[in-house]
């Protein structure tokens, strides 16, 4: 597909539409890895699988380590590869171009940073949580959203933490928490000052085997494989040494994550859209109706044109957000625009591709139905479209809309 050659890098103050030589090499390497290692493996997996058999995972992880690309989100000082966010975004676009790619890009064989907030932890906390996580010995989860609301965490956090000497006692509940049932520790956000809104939230590192930490139930969603959980805290005692950052400054920790996450989140949507579009282009040339290929029909051509426009639009905005972040500029609005446009455009592209494939498009023989379900969630996860518009509007108007 012609548009695949378009990448984007920055030279000076200008965005350049061509990839640097280094970016071209690494993008080509990951594209080949997806095509040769990931896509063939998916033929033997359940269509909703989001994990590889252990031996395949170990084999492929060894390959990404040999490629020098394991732990893409780990800062170089902690052993990760030294790549900028622009290149990371280009790779995220490539890594998502397979059936499980939206929520399990390459089934995690490129590793992850775990919970990025831990890079700001104290030395003691790093030793107990960060380093074991980077070594693959511990898993963490991020527990922010509550039944009272997710889009306005500063006000919706009703989970309370009360200090008793050197210990905090936490009571409350969380919902839509991924990975809590398998996690060794959780970053739990709780209200420590009821009068201070976002200035009254603290982040605690909580060992999940602490008495009072309950994974109440699985929350089933449109995703068949990966699920969220509901948590309950009953007189959960956490030592003061497990406060991450400062007391009453936990919201900044949560907020920083939410902005940063939006760029790779957007990139995943673009990758899936590219793959779906690529498949639809090929199919339209070979599938015949009434004696002529689908691609000869204007109705199909216009769908493909709209796909192309959606993909390019989303990719431009996403790479621009990455570009600004790399330059150390404020990218909150840009990340919101990227997330908003990519998640909505990705949904439209997958929908059109399903339409082009007709009955086959909705079967589990093809990946569209999974992408369709999962792409719908992307308009809600990491801040719904309406919140992204709220962020953009606030920036345009230069005022708080609260």
């Amino acid at each position: 597909m012609p548009s695949r050659g378009w990448g984007g890098c920055h030279r000076g103050n200008q965005m350049d539409l061509s990839l640097s030589e280094e970016q071209s090499l690494v993008v080509a390497m990951v594209r080949r890895f997806v095509a040769q290692e990931i896509v063939p493996l998916e033929l033997s997996l359940d269509t909703d699988a989001d994990e590889l058999p252990r031996e395949d995972y170990a084999r492929l992880r060894a390959k990404t380590e040999a490629m020098g690309l394991y732990g893409l989100d780990i800062p170089p000082e902690y052993g990760g590869p030294d790549i900028d966010l622009m290149t990371r975004t280009l790779l995220a676009i490539e890594m998502s171009q397979h059936r499980a790619g939206l929520y399990a890009p390459c089934y995690g064989v490129f590793g992850g940073a775990g919970l990025a907030q831990l890079f700001e932890a104290s030395e003691d906390q790093k030793a107990r949580y960060l380093f074991p996580t980077l070594r693959g010995e511990k898993k963490g989860c991020f527990a922010l959203t509550e039944p009272s609301g997710g889009s306005d965490p500063a006000r919706a956090i009703l989970t309370k933490a009360v200090r008793e000497g050197d210990t905090w006692v936490i009571n409350g509940a969380k919902i839509f928490i991924s990975g809590a049932d398998k996690a060794d520790y959780a970053l739990v956000f709780a209200r420590t000052d009821t009068d201070r809104g976002r200035g009254g939230v603290t982040c605690f590192i909580v060992d999940t085997d602490t008495p009072g930490f309950h994974v109440r139930r699985v929350v089933h969603t449109l995703r068949a494989a990966r699920y969220a959980t509901e948590l309950g805290f009953e007189d959960l005692h956490v030592p003061h040494a497990n406060v991450l950052g400062e007391v009453n400054k936990g919201f900044a920790i949560a907020n920083d994550r939410l902005s940063r996450q939006r760029i790779p989140y957007a990139a995943g949507c673009i990758g899936v859209a590219i793959k779906a579009h690529e498949m639809a282009v090929e199919y339209s040339k070979t599938r015949e109706t009434f004696g002529a290929p689908l691609s000869s029909r204007q109705a199909i051509q216009w769908m493909l044109v709209d796909n192309e426009l959606d993909i390019r639009n989303a990719r431009w905005l996403t790479l621009e957000a990455a570009h600004r972040a790399d330059r150390g500029e404020d990218f909150r609005k840009d990340a919101a625009m990227a997330k908003l446009v990519a998640s909505e455009a990705g949904g439209r592209v997958v929908d059109r591709c399903m339409q082009i494939f007709g009955g086959y498009g909705v079967t589990k023989d093809f990946p569209f139905e999974r992408w369709y379900r999962e792409m719908r969630i992307r308009r809600i996860g990491e801040g719904p479209s309406e919140v992204q518009r709220h962020i953009i509007a606030r920036d345009i108007l230069g005022a708080s809309l609260r």
């Binding site: 359940d46 909703d48 252990r54 309950h214 139930r217 699985v218 995703r223 068949a224 009953e234």
Partner: protein, 105 residues
């Protein structure tokens, strides 16, 4: 799963739906001995997945099913809930690497 048990007879599975979903087998005492799921690779959904699984469950006498498109997360949930209650997964189930922990409380 709280549905009533149905007896396993030679033709018990013939009329089952070909849809995707989860199922349980129980012994004479209505104790769960196997939890399974019919995933997208099954030839005839629950019908064939249960017939295939029955071969490995000689003590199975009863079954119950649940049709669901969230077959994988529901399957894992049933296993986790069983383990939370009994301390181990059902006797005929293979270990599931990385199975999560539930504590319904």
């Amino acid at each position: 799963m709280t549905k009533p048990w149905r007896k396993i007879a030679p033709d018990a599975f013939d009329a089952l739906p070909g849809q995707l979903g989860v199922f349980e087998f129980a012994d004479d005492g209505e104790q769960v001995v196997y939890i399974g799921c019919a995933d997208a690779r099954s030839r005839f959904g629950l019908r064939s997945a249960m017939a295939d699984a029955l071969i490995r469950c000689p003590a199975a006498r009863g079954f119950r099913i649940e049709v669901t498109t969230a077959y994988r997360s529901r399957f894992l949930e049933l296993l986790m809930a069983y383990r939370a209650e009994r301390g181990a997964i059902p006797i005929y189930n293979d270990a599931v690497p990385g199975l999560g922990r539930l504590s319904p409380g």
